[in-house]
Amino acid sequence: MKMWIMVRREIVVPGALAAVVIYLITAMSSHLPLLQPKSMQSFIMTMLYWMTLSITAFLGAVSSAGDRENNSWNFNRSLPVTMERIWTERTMTAFIMTVLLMFGFYGWDPIRIIEYSPGLFLTVFAFSNLCGLGLRTVIHGAVAGLIVTIVITSTAYILLEDNASISLILNGIHVMAGLAGLISSFICCRWVE
């Protein structure tokens, strides 16, 4: 419930604004002969993709850095449960929301899933979560998570650019890196002050 309240108060304003923006751009596209429909569609999808990715980064960071930023970390520690359990509950709640968000973005379109790597969401989520443990503020955690994800993606791209099935391999790398980030975060949560 706490997560839901946080997400609701964080997402409602930018979400409404995003809906207006997408509507305006879509309406404008029919009056612009210079952009082909495919380009416009691609642009809108890229914008949506970045928004979804940003929200994912925040969900990951909020689940670990939110309490620390609100000074309720000590309250969590005083609870008669282990830190691992607190981490699991908070992170898994945020992860379920991320999965729902991903479903909203991908829909049932297999081409979209191929074009926009779903593994990237897991990586962003995991490293935002991990960086949220190390950096105190939510926004710094989210930004750090995004930067680490870009580094991983760029490194993999430089290494594999000439590979024919690069998108498939990149997805695999993202999933592996995301799992590694989540496990690291799980291990590190007990040592965080």
């Binding site: 964080e10 604004l17 210079l34 914008m47 989210a142 930004v143 993606t153």
Partner: protein, 655 residues
């Protein structure tokens, strides 16, 4: 107000940013180290990762700048430290200045570190090209930061600040981006509409300010932010050109236009239609920028290179601050001249074109602007003179007797070489219907096609002559200027293509076939020793033949090699690329979006090579043929019949 609280505030802000700062420096170093290692271990992957690096820098700067700003404003509120900050003996304006300054310093430090690290790892050449590209992310970053600052005043939560700021920035940038793109492509777009849009935006901002101000602002720095926001809008409107030219690193493997120029020494690269033109020196691997943005290097069928391939004609769109199209200031008499209208229609220039023509020296980057004319005179380039590097232009002057049209030739440096004055005893005709301009003199006729940029000069006596469409395909003069192909009409009234010496009148002309031949294609060998011709034989089957004008012999080429090859020769859209020594010929077949290249030897046409799905680039200086397949540039060495990955800087050594 003492200095200590301000100093304490600075250190507090910096301590909050230090972790993100350190992470960014580590990420930058890691990427450059990794790419350097990859370049050393796998040199054939020379181009791999340039996109990745630029994308990485672009996204990292953007994310970091908005993150530091949004973090500076949201963290204190989320942590409940606002009361503590308010209790400090510091004015709110100073708090705002400190927060923004620290975030700006952190971002600037990362930017400088990125550039320095790139330079240290040997990316100076790339960086010199990246810098103008990275100005765009910097400006984009500025817009995002202004929007984030604006939003940070009204919203309290980190994610709301972040996402709303990003969205506002995206709306502003995309709005201007689309508007300028529209103007770039549609110069006849009414200019006053842009002023209306701009006026509406400024009025909207002023109204928003008024509403907020009437409600009462809580502190002075919020007023500052609003003023900054409105100023940002004004600055943005003056720098829109940069957002419209969202061009990428001129990567040959993804470039839209890729051609070998300057006798195989350079590779011409243009990423997309509005990107600047770059030239890559094949031998050294150095890339130079030779044009401004909005330079259109190909219209019609091909790029317009001079005979030597060193000079190129481009259309350059002009904008004041990237926003207001600068129209040609021609007087009304010239505007209404049918010749001006015809040319403007051919080139899709609109009624008040914001375009001028430029001749670019691809070797030195020098540009000669054809637009330097008076209000009473207009000059339009019609094409390059075959055989030399002279540019043929049509000059239209306003005189008391009416408009006077003259043909003139310019050197690539802009010097007027020759002018043919029209006078009373000459018959002078402009033929718009056939998209050509014909000047008929007593004994001479010149036809110039402004659409396809071909030029013909022939002596016809007093005979009237009608332009022939198929003549447009004929290259008139041989590269050495000694021979020419022209049309002659025999006694039976049939027109023939004839090859004749321009200087030796005793040398009989050589018949290359009748005009009834469908789609004849002629190509002179680089040394002018022979003409490669694709025409129909007696049974009306297309054949490939070589004519030697000296011996007047005909050598059929590759007529019975294979069905696939014959099909290529029969193709209506045919492309030849002849090697420097004239020994090797590459033909392109374009069928249903899939192109195939055929290479064969002139001496032994039975052996040939096929690359499926490949795109021809041309013969490089090192006498290898370059082609692009997928995301790779490959080079074929005809002497060893070996294909290898190509990357610049080793052209001569490898050949």
């Amino acid at each position: 107000m003492g200095n200590d609280p301000v100093r304490a505030l600075i250190w507090k802000e910096f301590r909050e940013q230090i972790n993100l700062f350190a992470l960014s420096l580590g990420a930058v170093t890691l990427i450059f180290v990794f790419h350097s290692i990859m370049r050393y271990v796998k040199p054939e992957h020379y181009w791999a990762g340039h996109d990745a690096i630029v994308t990485f820098i672009f996204i990292m700067w953007l994310v970091l700048s908005t993150g530091t700003i949004a973090g500076a404003f949201s963290s204190d509120r989320d942590r409940g430290a606002c009361n503590f900050i308010a209790a400090l003996p510091v004015r709110p304006l100073w708090i705002w200045i400190v927060k923004v300054s620290v975030a700006a310093y952190v971002t600037a430090a990362v930017v400088i570190f990125t550039l320095l690290t790139g330079w240290l790892f040997g990316y100076s050449n790339e960086l010199s090209l990246l810098l103008p590209h990275l100005i765009i992310p910097l400006r984009l970053m500025g817009v995002m930061v202004v929007c984030t600052l604006f939003v940070a005043v009204f919203f309290r939560r980190a994610m709301t600040i972040w996402l709303t700021g990003m969205l506002l920035g995206t709306v502003l940038i995309m709005g201007y981006f689309l508007m300028v793109l529209y103007l770039a492509w549609e110069p006849s777009f009414p200019q006053w509409s842009i002023y209306i849009v701009l006026g509406c935006m400024v009025a909207g901002s002023a109204w928003a300010d008024g509403v907020i101000l009437s409600g009462g602002l809580r502190s002075g720095f919020q007023k500052g932010i609003l003023i900054l926001f409105v100023s940002g809008l004004v600055v943005l409107s003056l720098t829109t050109e940069y957002f419209a030219t969202f061009y990428r690193y001129p990567d040959p493997v993804t470039a839209r236009t890729l051609k070998i120029v300057d006798d195989g020494n350079c590779l011409l690269i243009q990423s997309d239609l509005i990107a600047p033109i770059h030239v890559l020196d094949i031998e050294t691997g150095v890339i130079r920028r030779v044009s401004r943005r909005f330079a259109l290097c190909s219209w019609g069928e091909d790029i317009h290179l001079s005979q030597s391939g060193r000079y190129m004609l481009v259309q350059q769109y002009r904008y004041l601050f990237g926003l207001f199209p600068l129209s040609r200031s021609m007087c009304n008499d010239l505007q209404s001249d049918p010749a001006v209208r015809a040319i403007q229609r051919h080139l899709h220039l609109g009624s008040r074109p914001a375009v001028n023509f430029q001749v670019i020296d691809l070797r030195t980057g020098h540009r000669f602007d054809l637009d330097e004319f008076e209000r009473s005179e207009a000059i339009f380039p019609l094409g390059w003179h075959p055989g030399d590097d002279l540019l043929i232009c049509l000059s239209i002057c306003k005189t008391p007797r009416g408009n006077e049209r003259n043909l003139c030739t310019f050197s690539p440096c802009g010097d007027l070489i020759r002018q043919w004055k029209s006078c009373q005893d000459c018959r002078y005709t402009l033929s718009y219907g056939r998209e050509s301009i014909v000047k008929i003199d007593h004994v001479e006729m010149e036809t110039i096609n402004p659409c396809k940029f071909t030029y013909e000069h022939m002596v016809i006596g007093e005979t009237e002559w009608n332009p022939v469409d198929s003549l447009e395909e004929v290259p008139r003069l041989s590269p050495d200027g000694l021979w020419e192909i022209r049309i002659e009409i025999d006694d039976s009234g049939t027109s023939h293509f004839v090859c004749k010496s321009r200087h030796d009148s005793d040398n009989p002309s050589f018949d290359l076939g009748s005009l009834s031949t469908l789609h004849p294609v002629f190509r002179w060998m680089p040394d002018s020793s022979s003409v490669l011709c694709r025409r129909d034989d007696e049974s009306r089957q297309p054949v490939l033949e070589m004519f030697d004008p000296l011996t007047q012999s005909v050598t059929p080429l590759a007529s019975t090699v294979s069905e696939a090859f014959s099909q290529v020769v029969r193709s209506s859209q045919i492309y030849f690329a002849v090697s420097e020594n004239g020994k090797w010929i590459v033909i392109r077949e374009q069928a249903n979006r899939s192109a195939s290249l055929f290479a064969f030897s002139v001496d032994n046409p039975q052996t040939f090579k096929v690359w499926k799905g490949a795109e021809a680039i041309g013969w490089e200086y090192g006498k290898r043929f370059l082609y692009r397949t997928g995301k790779m540039i490959r080079a074929w060495n005809p002497r060893t019949d070996a294909d290898s990955d190509w990357f610049p800087g080793r052209g001569r050594r490898q050949a």
